[in-house]
Amino acid sequence: MIMTVLRNWLSPLKYQGLRHSLQGLTLAIAASFSLGTHAEDNVLTVYTYESFTAEWGPGPAIKEGFEKQCGNCTIDFVALDSSAGILNRVQLEGENTRADVVLGLDTNLMAIAEDTGLLAPSGVNTSALQLPIDWESDTFVPFDYGYFAFVYDTEALASAPKSFEALINAPENVKIIIQDPRTSTPGLGLLLWMKAVYGDEAAEKWAALQPRILTVTKGWSEAYFSLFLNGEAPMVLSYSTSPGYHMEIDKTDRYQAAAFEEGHYLQVEVAALLESSPKKALGQQFLNYLIDREAQLSIPLGNVMFPVIDLENSLPPSFSKLIEPASTLLIPAEEIRDNRKQWIDEWLESSSAR
């Protein structure tokens, strides 16, 4: 009866093709309801953020290197629109996710990510890694680290603020571009940085900071490339290592990081396996490769961060001219997990107040 009804409705259009494609669509719908649409056996799907897989990023080199090592496997980098977006996407997809590996979360999101139950132990030996902190997680494998810092344009600002207080009280023309803590790990990083510095006063300080904020972007790429480098504002939230790239590759000292007296917040970026993945062996091989010397060599100038192993003298020379944090700030992952929602609500509130 459905078919007769359909026929009656469609026949005025007189296009056989349309009817057939409708039937085809119905079949396709039915087919796509199969659970777990993982790719074929030798393709490793890695969810990561855009700047990792860009031409100038570390992605291409790592892909090439790993594919050579494993023989006939392929890495499929899926570039999501922001770093924290990786976690969101995996949560949205649930157990039906296509991802085998997530790459680009950081220490701040670790406990939250683990709580989802979607991640599997990495099986990778992390004891030989050299990080500013001791590494204790079995699930996550760190692949680079850096310190959050405001990067400024020396041509727009003669001298940059030397502390948060100085930034808040800076003159009218000192505007900053920041990222949304809900979608971006640097965004969350700034939130936590101010939390670490100001504790319970953080909300107040955020409200006080509002006049300095030009805009809040979704991810780091837009903030840095599309806005900051195009001169929209003189300061942007980024990493202490960002100037290293400009000095080394662009051969310019124009962009520098502002050293804050209160200290800088540490970010360690991590990768992990998905529990639902049928290719854990391959994934593990990839994670091991990630902390291998070959892959780590791409990190300093590819991702513009510090490597997690000692590259001896292979760090770019300009990296020695980077600012040294007065102190390293870090909030434990469990504490973040317990308070993130509340802290973000606080941020939302101070940002939406007039």
Binding site: Q91, L92, D180
Partner: protein, 561 residues
């Protein structure tokens, strides 16, 4: 006794003596619509049952979002209507000037232009690097802060002022000629004319129009998402989207969705009180240019002749025209730039174009199918059985989307389907479903009157000759309904092609449509690429509109507006 029984049996036989049960279309359509709207709703309410409503409602962020949604909708409505009145008056009293017809046609284009495309145009004019900012730089003024409430208001006025102007213009032009002659005879001043002739007419429309504009602004998604600029200016629809896609905060999403539902329900009920002439531009979209040409003579007798009136006219009309044309011009100009070729040939763009077309066509077909099902049954109820009320209930079902806005529906579908399927893989299907439901009220509006009209006239003849079922459709209905169906299809397809709501929720790097791509490019400040994408989308929509009308409606005049 036996006589009565025989009578009943006869009645039964009478009603069964047809080849096609009249209610079949309606039932199928109703079931489908209900399944697609009620099921997600239920899954959402089940989730809502687990929410602690007290804390949820006392959350300041939630309160602020609700307040802002209502506030910006109210302001937008006041501004749009406030600006529309003088423009409508000016147009009504200037019945002939070069380009009047073009301008009035342009005003109705806001129904067909995709929101995100117009937004791009607006950003190109008023945004940080737009025309206005550059102009201000030249005279050394600070660039305007555009994102936030001001951006939202500008965009809302851009879309709703022309709509309101058209409606008001129609009612002004329907004032009988005799009134004007009388006014002239009595030597009434312009002010008296306004007070006693024009204002009463407009006032009648105002309530319903205000409600319509308010609802549109309250549930607007693309505008607030692009121009809101942050937590400071977020409406409920956008907040739902953000809590789902940014925070994965399902309780928050459901809380907001329920609030949104409640308010929309209230607004819908309110609208049943105000029975406006439903000439909000749709079935009159084709008639209007004819009307304006002929009835412009009507107001000839009350031209605004005096110098200050002419000046006022000129001011209002020019301002309105510039306001509407500038973003479109900015869009057209900026879309041809250094990135044009690379964007057009880029595989992401091409895939997005394909997806957009698929979504548009299938949504249109689905919407038309549902509408026909409902209308055929409604027609039978209204005309054969004379149950005009139930006939209208059937059509009310078609308007479900006005109570359950797209993002809310999407949230419900997401909750419903997530345990069973990867929603991102079936994204296109979900987009098609949501967009069809979104187009359904408009499609019904366009097709309702023609269907009822032709049926009423010929009902007895059809019955006496026994033309029924497929025959009736093929020989009687289709030839007469071809054009409205063509317009409805074209409209539904264009609406779906240009939509940002559903795809924002379910889109991903795997499944993108042009609107989403445009939004992403704008969000990454890749303005040149965005410009080309906007131009492509506009072109696609116009093409779809024209081609579908031609294809389905047949030859003769192409009724674009």
């Amino acid at each position: 006794m036996a006589g009565i029984l025989v009578g009943q049996i006869s009645r039964l036989q009478y009603s069964l003596n047809r080849t096609w049960p009249w209610w079949s279309g309606g039932v199928v359509a109703l079931v489908v619509i209900m399944a697609l709207t009620i099921a997600p709703l239920v899954s959402m309410l089940v989730e809502a049952g687990t929410i602690d409503w007290k804390t949820a409602l006392s959350d300041t962020y939630t309160q602020r979002v609700v307040w802002f949604s209502l506030y910006q909708a109210l302001l937008s409505t006041l501004l749009s209507l406030g600006c529309a009145i003088p423009v409508a008056l000016a147009l009504a009293h200037s019945p002939s000037f070069h380009g009047r017809r073009f301008l009035v046609t342009l005003f109705s284009l806001s129904l067909v232009i995709p929101t995100i495309v117009a937004i791009y145009g607006i950003v190109a004019v008023y945004g940080r690097t737009g025309w206005l900012s550059r102009a201000r730089e030249i005279i050394d003024l600070e660039p305007l802060s555009f994102y936030g409430l001001s951006g939202i208001l500008i965009a809302h006025v851009f879309f709703n002022m022309p709509l309101a102007t058209r409606v008001m213009l129609t009612s002004l032009e329907s004032i009988p000629q005799s009134n004007w002659r009388l006014a002239r005879q009595l030597g009434m001043s312009s002010l008296s004319i306004w007070r006693f002739i024009e204002w009463p007419v407009l006032r009648g429309q105002l309530a319903g129009l205000a409600l319509l504009v308010f609802t549109l602004c309250f549930t607007s998604f693309a505008i607030v998402m692009t121009l809101g600029g942050g937590p400071r200016a977020t409406t409920i629809e956008v907040a739902i989207y953000q809590s789902l896609r940014f925070d994965f905060d399902i309780p928050m999403a459901v809380t907001l969705a329920c609030l949104q539902l409640g308010i929309c329900l209230f607004l819908t009920l309110l609208s049943t009180l105000f029975k406006t002439d439903s000439d909000i531009g749709f079935e009159n979209v084709t008639e209007l240019t004819k009307n304006t040409a002929s009835s412009s003579l009507l107001i000839n007798t009350a031209l605004w002749d005096s110098r200050w009136q002419k000046l006022a006219s000129l001011m209002f009309i020019t301002a309105a025209s510039l306001f509407v044309i500038a973003p479109l011009m900015a869009l057209l100009i900026s879309s041809v730039n250094s990135s044009t070729l690379s964007v057009i040939t880029d595989s992401t763009t091409l895939r997005a174009i394909a997806n957009t077309c698929i979504a548009a066509l299938f949504s249109a077909v689905f919407a038309i199918g549902l509408a026909l099902g409902l209308l055929v049954s409604a027609r039978h109820l209204r005309i054969r059985l004379q149950y005009s009320r139930s006939g209208q209930w059937l059509q009310l079902a078609g308007n479900m989307i006005l109570i359950i806005p797209p993002v809310v529906l999407g949230t419900g579908l997401f909750l419903l389907l997530r345990p069973y399927a990867d929603v991102f893989s079936i994204a296109l299907l979900l987009v098609i479903v949501i967009n069809s439901l979104m187009a359904l009220p408009f499609v019904l509006r366009i097709m309702d009157a023609p269907m009822m009209r032709t049926a009423e006239q010929h009902d007895k003849l059809i019955r006496s000759l026994g033309v029924q079922g497929f025959s009736r459709w093929r020989h009687i209905d289709w030839p007469q309904l071809r054009k409205p169906i063509a317009l409805a299809t074209a409209f539904a397809a264009t609406l779906s092609a240009g939509d940002l709501g559903a795809i924002a929720l379910f889109g991903s790097e795997r499944v993108t449509t042009l609107p989403l791509l445009l939004y992403q490019r704008m969000g990454s400040y890749r303005m040149e690429e965005a410009a080309v994408t906007a131009g492509l989308l506009l072109l696609l929509c116009l093409t779809l509109f024209i081609v579908l009308q031609r294809l389905i409606g047949g030859k003769n005049r192409v009724v674009i507006t």
